[in-house]
């Protein structure tokens, strides 16, 4: 198998395209079907854009998963931005502090099998998602 982990920097909007492409390639490698591929790529696109827009840039770490023959893909998005003061509020559909639709974060959670946020004001944000075959 190819390198089980890789790290991508998120500094510009082109980097978001690169994250999507890499996630798509890894999802195919993990054997995810077309619908699951599309789900995790879309979730990754949302989180990468939040990392860039609200987290002042950061990185995405991709990891191939294998658990008792089950395969999957995990991605960690991490930034050292301002953090999210109220996570429940941020997850609520329609809540945005920017010009978005306020659907990205909640949508990403619905699109994945695992979803975890660690964030505190001034401490940055780390969001982990996974999708299993």
């Amino acid at each position: 198998m190819a390198t089980p982990r890789s790290t991508l920097q998120i500094r510009t909007s082109e980097d978001i395209v690169r994250v999507r492409q890499e996630v798509r390639a890894r999802a195919i490698e993990a054997g995810l079907g077309l619908v699951d591929q599309t789900k995790i790529v879309t979730a990754a696109s949302e989180l990468a854009r939040n990392t860039l827009e609200y987290g002042r840039g950061g990185e995405a770490r991709l990891e191939m998963l294998q658990d008792h023959g089950r395969r999957g893909l995990r991605i960690v998005f991490e930034d050292r931005g301002p953090g999210i003061p109220d996570i429940d509020q941020a997850l609520r559909d329609g809540f945005t502090t920017g010009k978005g639709m306020g659907l990205g974060l909640g949508g990403a959670r619905r699109l994945c099998n695992e979803f975890n946020i660690v964030s505190a004001p001034g401490e940055g944000t780390r969001i982990t998602i996974a999708r299993w075959k």
């Binding site: 879309t42 949302e46 639709m101 990205g104 949508g107 699109l111």
Partner: protein
Amino acid sequence: MDSPPASRLPSILDAHADDILSEWIARLRSGGADDRISEVERERQASGFLQRMIEAIRASGVADIEGPAFEPLREMLSDISRSRAMQGFSPTESALFVFSLKQPLFHRLGLAWGKDAEGLARDVWAVTLLIDALGLRMMEAWQKTREEVIIRQQQEIAELSTPVVKLWQGILALPLIGTLDSSRTQVVMENLLESIVQHEADIAIIDITGVPTVDTLVAQHLLKTVAAARLMGADCIISGIRPQIAQTMVHLGVELNVISKANLSDAFALALRRIGRAVVRTKSPVPVMGTAHGE
């Protein structure tokens, strides 16, 4: 304390400029003829470069290449580098142009200082710093040019890949292909709105079969385009939402609130109905003629 002896570089450059130039050109030539650039052009660049370097050193010494005396040399360096990047030279090949000036200069310094190792070492060091700095600038200029080329190509692709097609009197189609980032979407939207006005279109079909990912940003762009088209008097139909994309959009929670059809052909049929037209079957199929052999 004795002050160190003055650099002999300026006097060498004054006395031996022609020799240095011909040695340099010989070195440049030793790589063989290159069909990307003519001998004459290469020699013209070398002699112009050396001349500007001599003038700059005469005016301000070797240390301050960021200073005003080096301005003409810096400009020439950028020009040369830019043309090499366009001609398809690699950064290494481009920088070698400058680095290959070292040997002729070292050679002359060796002759001038003779056995005075200390003086020679100091001048060699000064020349090394100077040429290295110029070589690095050359690489930077090369890279900048390549980046400009890439950005220009991206813009060209953005425009190329967003043609608005007239399908029928009053019906336009916009087949979108690829990533919809913000700058491209801007172009797409403007093209569509202009075409709506120009063709007095009633209906615009936006086909997203070729869009790999529809996330909240893409959805937002689509909605804005639809709203703007409506203000221009045209209704939009979105076609080509593939099943996996439809499912993902439901999970995301985005609602396009716009008429959509599975594919462009269904969208076209609907558009025709809307403007009071229909496609009917004629009795016998008529062969398509005249296009098979071209003109």
